[in-house]
């Protein structure tokens, strides 16, 4: 049963009473909250996700969003993210409850999933080949990712590339795409049919909104894929779209810098990264216009296999 099978009031009721077991990619999250904006965000952006019936209560992550029991709740209400019943972050203004859920879900994975090498990167796929887009905040990674998935690329993730240590394949984690500030309106005009959560202002990242992941990407969330390209995107106002070849050794070090658990995985991290880079053509990519970027991505060819 998908989240969309529940009416808004049923979803609110279940979230408040027993919580829901939500399948995102290969992970199950048990989520409990009585905060209305979270229920509304889930109903809007997670409508196509599977609700799992877990009789034994198993979940990879048990989280809840609650109102902290302090005096501020009377004049400046807040939200607190609990992981296994324990507060993980400082409380945020209540208005930021849904973004906090998204950030918290990312935190759950980047801090607890170690059968994968986790890279701070967007991942998209077309024709069976995936492109990893690692980049620091502000590089236009999520904007480019949002544009690509609205033009025929499959979304694996806009934030966390999960490279399975056992076989080097990329595991999908299609969740809403996080956009901030100007990027929100850029993508809204680029794809008027895209569904967005309401904007939340004054967060640590500025104004944020989340774009619903394409239904096809969610439906294919169990299809792992081979990597073909590692592309470091950089938005540069006025720049001509330019894809520049990057030596694999340099790409290795930069991807490692963008990884959450490369060091933690030790030799397995090195081997997984070696395999990933070996299978990839690596590029720096500068762009200013999304249509130009889409065209260049459309002309990417995978590496010819070595004999």
């Amino acid at each position: 049963m998908n989240v969309s099978a529940l009416s808004p009031s049923e979803l609110k009721f279940r979230l408040r009473k027993t919580g829901i077991f939500l399948q995102t990619g290969s992970f199950i999250t048990h989520l409990k909250t009585s905060i209305s904006s979270v229920a509304e965000g889930l109903g809007l952006l997670y409508a196509d996700y599977l609700l799992v019936e877990q009789q034994d209560g198993f979940a990879d992550f048990h989280i809840s969003l609650v109102h902290p029991r302090n005096l501020r709740r009377w004049f400046k209400p807040q939200v607190l993210f609990l992981f296994d019943g324990n507060p993980t972050f400082k409380p945020l203004p209540l208005d930021q409850a849904f973004p906090m859920l998204e950030w918290g879900l990312n935190w759950c994975i980047s801090n607890h999933v170690n059968h994968c090498l986790i890279i701070h990167a967007a991942v998209v796929e077309k024709g069976g080949y995936a492109a990893i887009l690692p980049a620091p905040p502000g590089s236009g990674k999520s904007t480019l990712c949002a544009a690509l998935v609205n033009r025929g690329w499959r979304l694996l993730s806009d934030e966390l590339a999960l490279v399975r240590v056992s076989d080097g394949k990329l595991i999908p984690l299609p969740r809403p795409v996080s956009l901030k500030n100007e990027s929100i309106e850029i993508i809204r005009s680029y794809e008027p049919n895209a569904i967005f959560s309401r904007k939340v202002a004054d967060t640590i990242k500025g104004t944020v909104a989340h774009m619903k992941a394409p239904a096809d990407s969610i439906a294919r969330a169990t299809e792992a894929v081979e990597v073909a390209w590692v592309i470091f995107p950089k938005y540069q106002a006025g720049a001509m779209a330019c894809l520049e070849s990057l030596p694999q050794s340099r790409a290795f070090m930069r991807v490692a810098d963008n990884s959450f658990n490369y060091s933690l995985l030790g030799l397995n991290g090195f081997k997984t990264m070696t395999r990933l880079i070996d299978a990839s053509l690596c590029y720096d990519f500068e762009y200013s216009k999304l249509d130009d970027a889409i065209e260049i991505f459309g002309s990417l060819k995978p590496q010819v296999p070595r004999r």
Partner: protein
Amino acid sequence: MKWQVISDQVINCCSWDDELVFYNKLSGDTHLLGSAAAQVLLELRKSPSNALSLIEALAPCQPSEMVMNEESYIYIEHLLNELNMLGLIEFS
């Protein structure tokens, strides 16, 4: 005085073009070695060697003016010290 690659370190590297990415199993660090350092390391993987022998072995890969002068000796010595400090080589 000869240098050799620390035996545990031998297998944990990969090379693309003329650069080498090396995982130091003892420290957990990963190093990107440029062309010259990579060549020195690969020579030492074949057999223990000293600076003078390394200059001779690497001569075909170097510009002619670099071959067997004091500058190249100092350069190789510097690379050996760097590799030693990274925990990749030791005295044999």
